[in-house]
Symmetry: C2
Subunit: 190 residues, 2 copies
């Protein structure tokens, strides 16, 4: 998606440790013109796929998921993060490892809101190592829900995690695909 | 807002401790038809007020703020919660007490994204005791930003916190105003 790539080139800051800072337009301060365009593009990419629900993870996926949900006319569910395993039987729960904070956290959704009749589109801001997505896919599995696909704002292609998902036959669409990045510049997959 | 009141009556569950559970349509599973209507109503209520930015707090305010930001054509900023005071000089920071979890947490926004040239609309899902809003207002004060007003999905009028803000001359608009609630029923302010 051209507008996303242009925004990354203009506003993104590459930091050591393969970190791309996009807080000025995507995951703290949100450019809502771009957000609206992203939502329309996600709706276009998954039109006719029978999506009944969007699932994301708090906090930075919520804005993208909400905008896409409005554009697609489907409800949005967000999984919550807990630092402890203190969860009861009313939820589906899984464990995700955060490399950023070097800790495990529990991710839960209420059993009331995800079921075997759902066809789920996963939405998140970044795809790097794929650990958060694996957690969301596990929650869908536990609910017996079908995976319609995955929509990501920015994929770090150089980790290989996105291509491994595609090789499994999953419909993964990323609005910007970063092939390589350094302080000298960013290259997108064409 | 009629659609919000109807949804609360149909889906809301009143729990002991003056808790209203709205997870099925507002703050975990999100009804995006209602969300779109809420965004349009917030845009209508604050039209012509010169709003340059929407400020909310993670996580459950983000969806409403994002939808309103798209409807109003203004950027959305969300304040982040930290359990520790381990924040550096690049952020505005304040302390909010959570009655739900009975603990203090730090709320921060980057100094890069809020300034004295901003006229800010605060958006959140609930107004109960007003502590989260007071924190957001403090962040605006620190930035020298002007407060345009406050938009809330559900106000618990019986706490008096909303009326105290109105008495200060603040333009506070709540899409549903609950005058009283118990397991026997919910009464809205007309």
């Amino acid at each position: 998606m051209k507008q996303m790539e242009e925004m990354i080139l203009r506003e993104g800051v590459v930091l050591p440790g393969e970190i791309l800072k996009v807080g000025s337009f995507l995951n703290q301060n949100i450019d809502t013109t771009l957000l609206g365009q992203m939502a329309e593009e996600i709706a276009r990419l998954f039109e006719g796929q029978g999506v009944t629900k969007i699932l994301t993870i708090e906090a930075s996926g919520i804005a993208i998921a909400a905008a896409a949900g409005i554009a697609m006319g489907v409800p949005v569910l967000f999984a919550k993060k807990h630092k402890t395993s203190n969860v009861d039987g009313s939820v589906y729960s899984t464990v995700v490892h955060s490399f950023t904070h070097n800790e495990d956290y529990h991710v839960v959704v209420s059993r009331d809101y995800l079921s075997s009749s759902d066809k789920v589109l996963l939405v998140d801001d970044f795809l790097a190592n794929g650990k958060a997505l694996a957690g969301l896919m596990d929650l869908c599995d536990q609910a017996g829900a079908e995976l319609a696909g995955i929509a990501i704002a920015i994929e770090k292609c150089f980790t290989g995690a996105g291509d491994r998902l595609r090789e499994q036959g999953i419909k993964l669409e990323s609005l910007a695909m970063i092939e390589s990045m350094s302080e000298d510049g960013i290259t997108f997959r064409s």
